[in-house]
Symmetry: C2
């Protein structure tokens, strides 16, 4: 892999996830906090209009607009679709990007703690996970490498390398100090890692570490008309990254009926009851636990 | 006090506080759950348009529109101001209301647990607090009786008696089972109490109980331009109804400076870092702890 010469830190991709937006402001006033010797760092406030309206998005989810074919489609012209094309100009173009590495900052209402979501399981990302966990033991690493990076529709898929920093629990439209501090710390460790990786001077890292690999997404219970008829079971609520087995209660219908999970593997729910996912009636993501070997 | 013949249970006064809205739907299908022998019960979905838009309000906060002079002012004609006039027709008119008692259902992003907010410290409300706490030991009772009921601008001030059921923590636009169950249980206990009070058949209640009385509201730190420059201190976050003393850290500025509270009494913060209060840059409410005597 060629070295990382150009890094972009993106905040406010979702307008009601405040931590990244507030950190960008601080870093713009004190750029040395995100500057390292071996690369340039730029910041980008992705969706200022959604933030102004205190919403996740104005017309459609900005973090689902970066499929190559959508970026090339002139008929996709709503606010976020237009904004995606502009961001692709600034940071990309996707497939041949002037930016080498993107860190996209997000909050979740789910109890996920400080989570690093990586989109590829190559040497760079595997070592980044090890480095961040060594510096920040409460950090969780999730591999969303079920499809090639080019096929992801995320902001962080514009560059050849990209990650998502996803911190919770934080309600929409609020700043929590613990969550802000976690995001600041994790971003700092990632930038330190890139600098050391560029220099070939990584410290000794553990030979293996525990992480998660995305497997599937579960929907909230619906009736035949597509109306929501139940909620996440109280035994699952807040238990992000705790094991779930076949037969465990997973949903409670509004009539009191308990629904049990019918899966056949040890699953690790995350993004449990994330507010933003109600748009699509999603209940949670599942992962399997993996041991990553360096 | 004359007996309570007519009760209204109001949900969805704020469109992104989901628990009341979902409970109303369940109760409308099973009206016996909110019916008692000595009074009639009606339900009212206060702000359907805000819920459709998944927002607290469309134009202005519906739960601040019930001042008598505002209800009489024909120039106040935005959506919530109009909706308030319609609700005052249905439940009121304020000052001479056909509804005797209103229960208004709310969620908060703050860690307040199941909280009963009463607006008057008369025999009815004092005994209600004792009854609800006896049935639900985790319940908290807050007296917001610093002004006469008629001067409150809340939905629940339309009738001669009214309370707010305020349950958290719950992010906006989400259903949590624990919060839904608390709201269902507290509303049931209130309805039971009214029925027993009407019959003069209240069970033995403790002679005293612990409660809180609202004292003041604190703003988030601002600069001279009115811009937010800090956040709730991490030692205060989530510590609703825990004591705060003069000199305790209360805010952290974004530059790292800690701000200490300068009050001269033992205060009990609540509505700490409530998302909806950012509109007015409010940080929290304070109360003093009181012993209520029956």
């Amino acid at each position: 892999m060629k070295s990382i010469n150009s890094v972009a830190v993106v905040g406010g991709t979702h307008g009601n996830e405040f931590s990244g937006i507030y950190l960008l402001r601080q870093w713009q006033q004190n750029p040395q906090r995100i500057t390292r010797d071996t690369f340039t760092t730029q910041t980008l406030f992705a969706n200022p209009k959604a933030h102004e309206e205190n919403k996740r998005y104005v017309d459609s989810d900005l973090n689902r607009q970066f499929a190559v074919e959508d970026l090339a489609n002139p008929e996709l012209a709503n606010y976020e679709q237009s904004r995606a094309k502009v961001m692709n100009e600034i940071l990309g173009p996707k497939g041949n990007a002037k930016t080498d590495f993107i860190i996209d900052l997000h909050n979740t209402t789910s109890n996920m703690g400080p989570t690093l979501i990586v989109l590829q399981s190559d040497d760079f990302n595997i070592k980044m996970g090890a480095y961040v966990k060594a510096r920040m033991p409460e950090a969780v690493v999730v591999f969303e490498d079920q499809i090639p990076l080019a096929d992801h529709k995320f902001v962080s898929s514009i560059a050849a390398q990209g990650v998502i920093v996803e911190i919770g629990p934080q309600p929409q439209s609020v700043i929590r100090q613990d969550v802000l501090d976690w995001m600041d710390a994790m971003t700092g460790h990632i930038l330190d890692f890139v600098d050391l990786y560029n220099q070939g001077e990584l410290p000794a890292l553990p030979e293996t570490y525990e992480a998660y690999r995305y497997t599937e997404t579960l929907k909230l219970p619906e009736n035949a008309k597509g109306e929501r008829i139940g909620m996440v079971h109280k035994h699952v609520q807040d238990n992000d990254f705790k094991p779930l087995h076949g037969g465990d209660p997973i949903f409670t219908l509004f009539d009191g009926t308990e629904i049990h999970w019918e899966g056949h593997y040890e699953a690790y729910p995350h993004f449990i009851n994330e507010a933003a996912y109600y748009d699509n009636n999603l209940a949670m993501s599942l992962a399997e636990k993996i041991t990553v070997t360096l």
